[in-house]
Amino acid sequence: MNKARLLAGFAAIATSALFVWSCEQRPALAPKVPSPRFHFNVFACQPLKMTGGGRIDFPPGTADKNPPASHEYETFGAHVMASGQLVNDVCVADQGELEWVDHRDEMRLNGSPLNLHATAVTFAELAIDTDCSDGAVHWGGKLRVQNTGQEDLDFEVWDCDNGEPGAGHDGFAIRVEEPIDGIGEYAVMCPDPSLPPAEPSCTLTGGNRQFHPTH
Protein backbone atom coordinates (compact mmCIF):
# COMPACT_ATOMS: atom_id res chain seq x y z
CA MET A 1 0.00 0.00 0.00
CA ASN A 2 2.82 2.37 0.93
CA LYS A 3 4.68 1.38 -2.23
CA ALA A 4 1.60 2.08 -4.28
CA ARG A 5 1.26 5.53 -2.68
CA LEU A 6 4.95 6.18 -3.26
CA LEU A 7 4.63 5.21 -6.91
CA ALA A 8 1.55 7.37 -7.28
CA GLY A 9 3.46 10.27 -5.75
CA PHE A 10 6.36 9.83 -8.14
CA ALA A 11 3.93 9.62 -11.05
CA ALA A 12 2.23 12.84 -9.96
CA ILE A 13 5.57 14.64 -9.60
CA ALA A 14 6.72 13.35 -12.98
CA THR A 15 3.46 14.41 -14.60
CA SER A 16 3.70 17.88 -13.07
CA ALA A 17 7.31 18.23 -14.16
CA LEU A 18 6.44 17.14 -17.65
CA PHE A 19 3.56 19.60 -17.72
CA VAL A 20 5.77 22.49 -16.63
CA TRP A 21 8.46 21.46 -19.12
CA SER A 22 5.99 21.16 -21.95
CA CYS A 23 4.52 24.59 -21.14
CA GLU A 24 7.95 26.12 -21.41
CA GLN A 25 8.79 24.41 -24.67
CA ARG A 26 5.44 24.53 -26.30
CA PRO A 27 3.32 27.60 -25.82
CA ALA A 28 0.69 26.43 -28.28
CA LEU A 29 -2.10 24.15 -27.22
CA ALA A 30 -3.77 21.86 -29.71
CA PRO A 31 -5.43 18.45 -29.83
CA LYS A 32 -3.06 15.58 -29.24
CA VAL A 33 -3.07 11.86 -29.76
CA PRO A 34 -2.94 10.36 -26.28
CA SER A 35 0.15 8.27 -26.90
CA PRO A 36 3.86 9.00 -26.66
CA ARG A 37 5.65 9.92 -29.87
CA PHE A 38 9.26 10.38 -30.84
CA HIS A 39 8.57 13.51 -32.92
CA PHE A 40 6.02 16.30 -33.07
CA ASN A 41 6.13 16.87 -29.32
CA VAL A 42 7.76 20.31 -29.10
CA PHE A 43 6.28 23.30 -30.89
CA ALA A 44 6.79 26.98 -31.48
CA CYS A 45 4.18 29.50 -32.49
CA GLN A 46 5.58 31.53 -35.37
CA PRO A 47 4.66 32.64 -38.90
CA LEU A 48 4.62 29.75 -41.37
CA LYS A 49 3.05 28.35 -44.47
CA MET A 50 2.91 24.80 -45.84
CA THR A 51 1.60 24.01 -49.32
CA GLY A 52 1.35 21.16 -51.80
CA GLY A 53 -0.27 17.77 -52.03
CA GLY A 54 0.53 14.21 -52.77
CA ARG A 55 -0.07 10.53 -52.40
CA ILE A 56 0.42 8.09 -49.54
CA ASP A 57 0.28 4.31 -49.90
CA PHE A 58 -1.13 3.40 -46.50
CA PRO A 59 -0.89 0.84 -45.13
CA PRO A 60 2.02 0.59 -44.62
CA GLY A 61 2.88 4.17 -45.60
CA THR A 62 6.46 3.60 -46.66
CA ALA A 63 8.22 5.14 -49.67
CA ASP A 64 7.18 2.18 -51.86
CA LYS A 65 3.93 2.23 -53.79
CA ASN A 66 1.45 -0.58 -53.22
CA PRO A 67 0.35 -2.55 -56.31
CA PRO A 68 -2.12 -0.21 -58.07
CA ALA A 69 -4.78 -2.93 -58.23
CA SER A 70 -4.87 -3.05 -54.43
CA HIS A 71 -6.31 0.50 -54.38
CA GLU A 72 -4.42 0.96 -51.12
CA TYR A 73 -3.56 4.62 -51.43
CA GLU A 74 -4.72 8.07 -50.45
CA THR A 75 -4.37 11.37 -52.33
CA PHE A 76 -4.68 14.90 -50.99
CA GLY A 77 -4.14 18.60 -51.45
CA ALA A 78 -3.56 20.79 -48.41
CA HIS A 79 -2.21 24.14 -47.35
CA VAL A 80 -2.09 26.13 -44.14
CA MET A 81 -0.92 29.59 -43.21
CA ALA A 82 -0.34 31.15 -39.78
CA SER A 83 0.98 34.45 -38.48
CA GLY A 84 2.30 33.06 -35.21
CA GLN A 85 -0.41 34.53 -33.03
CA LEU A 86 -1.26 32.88 -29.76
CA VAL A 87 -4.92 33.29 -28.78
CA ASN A 88 -6.18 31.54 -25.66
CA ASP A 89 -3.11 29.29 -25.73
CA VAL A 90 -3.84 28.20 -29.28
CA CYS A 91 -1.48 29.06 -32.13
CA VAL A 92 -4.19 30.13 -34.53
CA ALA A 93 -4.14 29.53 -38.28
CA ASP A 94 -4.99 32.41 -40.60
CA GLN A 95 -6.29 30.14 -43.32
CA GLY A 96 -6.00 26.65 -44.73
CA GLU A 97 -7.63 23.97 -46.82
CA LEU A 98 -7.62 20.21 -46.95
CA GLU A 99 -9.03 17.88 -49.58
CA TRP A 100 -8.46 14.22 -48.79
CA VAL A 101 -9.52 11.10 -50.73
CA ASP A 102 -9.01 7.57 -49.42
CA HIS A 103 -9.17 5.14 -52.34
CA ARG A 104 -9.16 1.92 -50.32
CA ASP A 105 -12.11 -0.35 -51.10
CA GLU A 106 -12.92 -0.81 -47.41
CA MET A 107 -13.16 2.97 -46.98
CA ARG A 108 -15.86 3.49 -49.59
CA LEU A 109 -18.88 5.25 -48.19
CA ASN A 110 -22.20 5.56 -49.98
CA GLY A 111 -20.59 4.08 -53.07
CA SER A 112 -17.72 6.56 -53.32
CA PRO A 113 -14.17 6.86 -51.99
CA LEU A 114 -14.00 8.50 -48.56
CA ASN A 115 -13.70 12.24 -49.22
CA LEU A 116 -12.83 14.64 -46.39
CA HIS A 117 -13.10 18.40 -46.82
CA ALA A 118 -11.84 20.87 -44.23
CA THR A 119 -14.45 23.47 -43.33
CA ALA A 120 -12.13 25.38 -40.97
CA VAL A 121 -8.43 25.31 -40.19
CA THR A 122 -8.03 26.63 -36.67
CA PHE A 123 -4.48 25.99 -35.48
CA ALA A 124 -0.99 25.59 -36.93
CA GLU A 125 2.22 25.27 -34.97
CA LEU A 126 5.80 24.70 -36.00
CA ALA A 127 7.23 21.38 -34.82
CA ILE A 128 10.84 21.86 -33.77
CA ASP A 129 11.75 18.32 -32.74
CA THR A 130 11.59 16.46 -36.06
CA ASP A 131 14.10 15.38 -38.70
CA CYS A 132 12.15 17.23 -41.39
CA SER A 133 14.97 19.20 -42.99
CA ASP A 134 12.92 22.12 -44.32
CA GLY A 135 10.11 22.35 -41.79
CA ALA A 136 7.30 20.53 -40.01
CA VAL A 137 3.86 21.73 -39.00
CA HIS A 138 1.15 20.30 -36.78
CA TRP A 139 -2.19 21.76 -37.77
CA GLY A 140 -5.89 21.01 -37.88
CA GLY A 141 -9.45 22.17 -37.52
CA LYS A 142 -12.89 20.98 -38.56
CA LEU A 143 -13.92 18.88 -41.54
CA ARG A 144 -16.93 17.51 -43.32
CA VAL A 145 -17.33 14.00 -44.71
CA GLN A 146 -18.45 14.72 -48.25
CA ASN A 147 -19.95 11.27 -48.74
CA THR A 148 -22.51 11.69 -45.95
CA GLY A 149 -22.54 15.36 -45.02
CA GLN A 150 -21.36 14.57 -41.49
CA GLU A 151 -19.87 17.85 -40.22
CA ASP A 152 -17.83 19.48 -37.49
CA LEU A 153 -15.42 16.60 -36.98
CA ASP A 154 -12.12 17.67 -35.47
CA PHE A 155 -8.99 16.66 -37.33
CA GLU A 156 -5.26 17.09 -36.97
CA VAL A 157 -2.43 16.74 -39.42
CA TRP A 158 1.29 16.08 -39.06
CA ASP A 159 2.99 17.68 -42.03
CA CYS A 160 6.66 17.35 -42.95
CA ASP A 161 8.85 18.92 -45.66
CA ASN A 162 12.02 16.88 -45.81
CA GLY A 163 13.69 18.18 -48.98
CA GLU A 164 13.19 17.61 -52.68
CA PRO A 165 11.68 15.75 -54.33
CA GLY A 166 8.73 15.22 -52.03
CA ALA A 167 8.16 11.60 -53.09
CA GLY A 168 10.23 9.36 -50.84
CA HIS A 169 11.17 12.22 -48.53
CA ASP A 170 8.26 14.30 -47.26
CA GLY A 171 5.61 13.05 -44.87
CA PHE A 172 1.96 13.55 -43.99
CA ALA A 173 -0.49 12.02 -41.53
CA ILE A 174 -4.07 12.73 -40.57
CA ARG A 175 -6.37 11.72 -37.77
CA VAL A 176 -10.08 12.45 -37.37
CA GLU A 177 -10.84 12.72 -33.71
CA GLU A 178 -14.47 11.62 -33.69
CA PRO A 179 -15.78 8.46 -35.35
CA ILE A 180 -16.88 8.77 -38.96
CA ASP A 181 -20.39 7.41 -39.49
CA GLY A 182 -20.15 4.13 -41.37
CA ILE A 183 -16.40 3.81 -40.82
CA GLY A 184 -15.60 4.51 -37.19
CA GLU A 185 -12.18 5.65 -36.02
CA TYR A 186 -10.17 7.04 -38.90
CA ALA A 187 -6.46 7.78 -39.04
CA VAL A 188 -3.72 7.49 -41.63
CA MET A 189 -0.69 7.58 -39.38
CA CYS A 190 2.62 5.76 -39.39
CA PRO A 191 3.67 5.56 -35.75
CA ASP A 192 6.94 3.79 -36.42
CA PRO A 193 9.91 5.93 -35.38
CA SER A 194 12.20 3.99 -37.69
CA LEU A 195 10.24 5.23 -40.71
CA PRO A 196 11.53 8.47 -42.17
CA PRO A 197 11.04 11.35 -41.93
CA ALA A 198 9.10 11.91 -38.71
CA GLU A 199 6.65 9.84 -36.76
CA PRO A 200 3.67 9.75 -37.13
CA SER A 201 3.83 11.06 -40.71
CA CYS A 202 3.73 8.55 -43.56
CA THR A 203 6.16 8.87 -46.46
CA LEU A 204 4.85 10.44 -49.66
CA THR A 205 4.90 8.20 -52.73
CA GLY A 206 4.03 11.16 -54.95
CA GLY A 207 3.67 14.93 -54.79
CA ASN A 208 5.45 17.35 -52.50
CA ARG A 209 5.08 19.30 -49.29
CA GLN A 210 6.65 22.75 -49.38
CA PHE A 211 7.43 24.64 -46.20
CA HIS A 212 7.55 28.44 -46.40
CA PRO A 213 9.17 29.97 -43.31
CA THR A 214 7.15 33.16 -43.63
CA HIS A 215 4.34 34.37 -45.79
Binding site: T51, G52, A69, T75, Q95, P165, N208, Q210
Partner: protein, 205 residues
Protein backbone atom coordinates in the same frame (compact mmCIF):
# COMPACT_ATOMS: atom_id res chain seq x y z
CA UNK B 1 23.53 60.67 -66.50
CA UNK B 2 20.60 59.05 -68.29
CA UNK B 3 22.95 56.58 -69.88
CA UNK B 4 24.43 55.69 -66.48
CA UNK B 5 20.94 55.19 -65.04
CA UNK B 6 19.96 52.98 -67.95
CA UNK B 7 23.10 50.96 -67.40
CA UNK B 8 22.22 50.45 -63.74
CA UNK B 9 18.74 49.29 -64.67
CA UNK B 10 20.18 46.85 -67.17
CA UNK B 11 22.65 45.56 -64.60
CA UNK B 12 19.93 45.01 -62.01
CA UNK B 13 17.69 43.38 -64.55
CA UNK B 14 20.38 40.92 -65.54
CA UNK B 15 21.37 39.74 -62.06
CA UNK B 16 20.15 36.41 -60.74
CA UNK B 17 18.82 38.27 -57.68
CA UNK B 18 16.29 40.10 -59.78
CA UNK B 19 15.19 36.89 -61.43
CA UNK B 20 14.64 35.08 -58.16
CA UNK B 21 11.62 37.21 -57.39
CA UNK B 22 9.75 36.13 -60.48
CA UNK B 23 9.07 32.44 -60.01
CA UNK B 24 5.44 31.54 -60.51
CA UNK B 25 3.79 28.23 -59.76
CA UNK B 26 1.13 26.82 -62.06
CA UNK B 27 -0.85 23.61 -62.03
CA UNK B 28 -3.95 22.03 -63.43
CA UNK B 29 -5.60 18.64 -63.56
CA UNK B 30 -8.60 17.01 -65.12
CA UNK B 31 -10.27 13.64 -65.10
CA UNK B 32 -11.55 13.29 -68.67
CA UNK B 33 -11.20 15.40 -71.79
CA UNK B 34 -12.61 14.64 -75.23
CA UNK B 35 -11.94 16.76 -78.30
CA UNK B 36 -13.41 15.89 -81.69
CA UNK B 37 -15.04 17.86 -84.47
CA UNK B 38 -18.35 17.70 -82.63
CA UNK B 39 -17.41 17.21 -78.97
CA UNK B 40 -15.37 19.40 -76.64
CA UNK B 41 -15.78 18.42 -73.01
CA UNK B 42 -13.56 18.34 -69.91
CA UNK B 43 -14.69 17.13 -66.48
CA UNK B 44 -13.88 17.48 -63.68
CA UNK B 45 -11.09 20.06 -63.81
CA UNK B 46 -9.08 22.09 -61.31
CA UNK B 47 -6.70 24.99 -61.94
CA UNK B 48 -4.31 26.34 -59.32
CA UNK B 49 -5.67 29.76 -58.27
CA UNK B 50 -3.40 32.73 -58.79
CA UNK B 51 -3.27 33.32 -55.02
CA UNK B 52 -1.67 29.91 -54.68
CA UNK B 53 -4.18 28.11 -52.53
CA UNK B 54 -6.09 25.03 -53.63
CA UNK B 55 -8.69 24.05 -56.18
CA UNK B 56 -10.62 20.83 -56.28
CA UNK B 57 -13.44 19.47 -58.39
CA UNK B 58 -15.07 16.10 -58.52
CA UNK B 59 -17.71 14.03 -60.28
CA UNK B 60 -19.20 10.71 -59.23
CA UNK B 61 -19.94 9.79 -62.82
CA UNK B 62 -18.58 11.20 -66.05
CA UNK B 63 -20.05 10.25 -69.40
CA UNK B 64 -18.93 11.79 -72.67
CA UNK B 65 -21.08 10.34 -75.43
CA UNK B 66 -19.86 6.95 -76.55
CA UNK B 67 -16.27 7.97 -75.91
CA UNK B 68 -15.75 7.62 -72.16
CA UNK B 69 -17.46 6.69 -68.94
CA UNK B 70 -15.67 7.14 -65.61
CA UNK B 71 -16.54 6.96 -61.94
CA UNK B 72 -15.21 8.68 -58.85
CA UNK B 73 -13.21 11.38 -60.63
CA UNK B 74 -11.30 13.95 -58.55
CA UNK B 75 -9.09 16.79 -59.80
CA UNK B 76 -6.91 18.81 -57.43
CA UNK B 77 -4.36 21.59 -57.94
CA UNK B 78 -2.42 23.19 -55.11
CA UNK B 79 0.79 25.12 -54.49
CA UNK B 80 2.11 28.63 -54.08
CA UNK B 81 4.18 31.20 -55.91
CA UNK B 82 6.96 32.13 -53.49
CA UNK B 83 10.19 32.93 -55.34
CA UNK B 84 12.62 30.04 -55.03
CA UNK B 85 10.22 28.17 -52.73
CA UNK B 86 7.42 28.08 -55.30
CA UNK B 87 5.70 24.73 -55.68
CA UNK B 88 2.82 23.15 -57.54
CA UNK B 89 1.22 19.75 -57.20
CA UNK B 90 -1.72 18.61 -59.28
CA UNK B 91 -3.50 15.29 -59.43
CA UNK B 92 -6.41 13.56 -61.11
CA UNK B 93 -7.76 10.28 -59.81
CA UNK B 94 -10.48 8.06 -61.26
CA UNK B 95 -12.10 4.76 -60.37
CA UNK B 96 -13.61 2.53 -63.05
CA UNK B 97 -12.89 3.85 -66.55
CA UNK B 98 -14.29 2.61 -69.85
CA UNK B 99 -13.08 4.08 -73.14
CA UNK B 100 -14.70 3.42 -76.52
CA UNK B 101 -17.10 0.73 -75.35
CA UNK B 102 -14.55 -1.43 -73.59
CA UNK B 103 -11.64 -1.03 -75.98
CA UNK B 104 -9.65 0.32 -73.01
CA UNK B 105 -10.62 -0.23 -69.37
CA UNK B 106 -9.02 0.41 -65.99
CA UNK B 107 -10.27 0.49 -62.42
CA UNK B 108 -7.89 2.96 -60.81
CA UNK B 109 -6.12 5.87 -62.47
CA UNK B 110 -3.82 8.32 -60.72
CA UNK B 111 -2.14 11.18 -62.59
CA UNK B 112 0.17 13.25 -60.42
CA UNK B 113 2.59 16.03 -61.36
CA UNK B 114 4.81 17.89 -58.93
CA UNK B 115 7.12 20.85 -59.48
CA UNK B 116 9.52 22.92 -57.44
CA UNK B 117 12.20 25.20 -58.86
CA UNK B 118 14.29 23.03 -61.20
CA UNK B 119 12.59 19.79 -60.20
CA UNK B 120 9.51 18.23 -61.79
CA UNK B 121 8.28 14.65 -61.70
CA UNK B 122 5.23 12.43 -62.08
CA UNK B 123 5.90 10.18 -59.07
CA UNK B 124 2.69 8.80 -57.63
CA UNK B 125 1.05 8.21 -61.02
CA UNK B 126 -0.34 4.73 -61.65
CA UNK B 127 -2.80 2.62 -63.64
CA UNK B 128 -4.69 -0.30 -62.10
CA UNK B 129 -6.04 -3.33 -63.96
CA UNK B 130 -5.49 -1.73 -67.33
CA UNK B 131 -6.81 -3.63 -70.34
CA UNK B 132 -6.11 -2.43 -73.88
CA UNK B 133 -7.87 -4.25 -76.68
CA UNK B 134 -8.22 -7.34 -74.52
CA UNK B 135 -4.63 -7.37 -73.30
CA UNK B 136 -3.78 -6.69 -69.65
CA UNK B 137 -0.91 -4.27 -69.08
CA UNK B 138 0.69 -3.91 -65.67
CA UNK B 139 2.48 -0.69 -64.88
CA UNK B 140 3.32 0.44 -68.45
CA UNK B 141 6.50 2.44 -68.92
CA UNK B 142 6.16 6.17 -69.65
CA UNK B 143 5.15 6.96 -73.23
CA UNK B 144 4.14 3.39 -74.11
CA UNK B 145 2.40 3.56 -77.51
CA UNK B 146 0.02 0.90 -78.79
CA UNK B 147 -1.86 0.85 -82.09
CA UNK B 148 -5.64 0.57 -81.98
CA UNK B 149 -6.64 -0.83 -85.39
CA UNK B 150 -9.48 1.15 -86.96
CA UNK B 151 -9.32 3.77 -84.21
CA UNK B 152 -5.82 5.25 -84.06
CA UNK B 153 -3.36 4.69 -81.21
CA UNK B 154 -3.03 5.12 -77.46
CA UNK B 155 -0.14 6.52 -75.45
CA UNK B 156 -0.01 5.28 -71.86
CA UNK B 157 1.49 7.40 -69.11
CA UNK B 158 2.34 10.06 -71.65
CA UNK B 159 4.90 12.43 -70.13
CA UNK B 160 5.41 15.77 -71.82
CA UNK B 161 8.09 18.16 -70.53
CA UNK B 162 6.93 21.76 -70.43
CA UNK B 163 8.63 25.03 -69.59
CA UNK B 164 9.65 24.59 -65.97
CA UNK B 165 7.41 21.61 -65.49
CA UNK B 166 5.75 18.49 -66.78
CA UNK B 167 2.41 17.08 -67.95
CA UNK B 168 1.34 13.49 -67.51
CA UNK B 169 -1.62 12.02 -69.40
CA UNK B 170 -2.25 8.53 -68.09
CA UNK B 171 -4.36 7.37 -71.08
CA UNK B 172 -4.24 9.40 -74.28
CA UNK B 173 -6.15 8.00 -77.23
CA UNK B 174 -5.47 9.69 -80.56
CA UNK B 175 -8.37 9.16 -82.94
CA UNK B 176 -7.35 8.84 -86.56
CA UNK B 177 -8.92 8.30 -89.95
CA UNK B 178 -7.03 6.86 -92.93
CA UNK B 179 -6.34 9.12 -95.88
CA UNK B 180 -7.16 7.23 -99.06
CA UNK B 181 -6.16 8.20 -102.60
CA UNK B 182 -8.23 7.82 -105.76
CA UNK B 183 -7.08 4.20 -106.10
CA UNK B 184 -8.22 3.32 -102.61
CA UNK B 185 -4.69 3.13 -101.23
CA UNK B 186 -4.06 4.42 -97.71
CA UNK B 187 -1.55 7.22 -97.96
CA UNK B 188 -1.55 8.34 -94.35
CA UNK B 189 -3.66 9.11 -91.33
CA UNK B 190 -5.47 12.21 -90.20
CA UNK B 191 -6.02 12.95 -86.53
CA UNK B 192 -9.68 13.56 -85.84
CA UNK B 193 -9.73 13.85 -82.10
CA UNK B 194 -8.23 13.08 -78.69
CA UNK B 195 -9.45 11.32 -75.58
CA UNK B 196 -7.43 11.92 -72.44
CA UNK B 197 -8.17 10.22 -69.12
CA UNK B 198 -6.25 11.35 -66.04
CA UNK B 199 -4.12 14.41 -66.70
CA UNK B 200 -1.95 16.46 -64.35
CA UNK B 201 0.31 19.42 -65.09
CA UNK B 202 2.62 21.40 -62.83
CA UNK B 203 5.36 23.96 -63.34
CA UNK B 204 7.47 26.59 -61.63
CA UNK B 205 8.82 29.30 -63.91
Amino acid sequence: MKIRFAGLVLLLASTPWSLQGQQVAAGQAFGVAVRTATVSQTAPAAVLPSDGSLAQNQASNVTVGAFVTAQDAFATATGASDDALSDAVSSATLGVVNILNGLITADGVVAMASSTLGNSNTEGSSLANLMVNGVQLDDPAPNTRLDLPGVGFVVLREEVPTSGGITVNMIHVVLQQPLVDALGIVTGYQTTGDIIVGSATSSVN
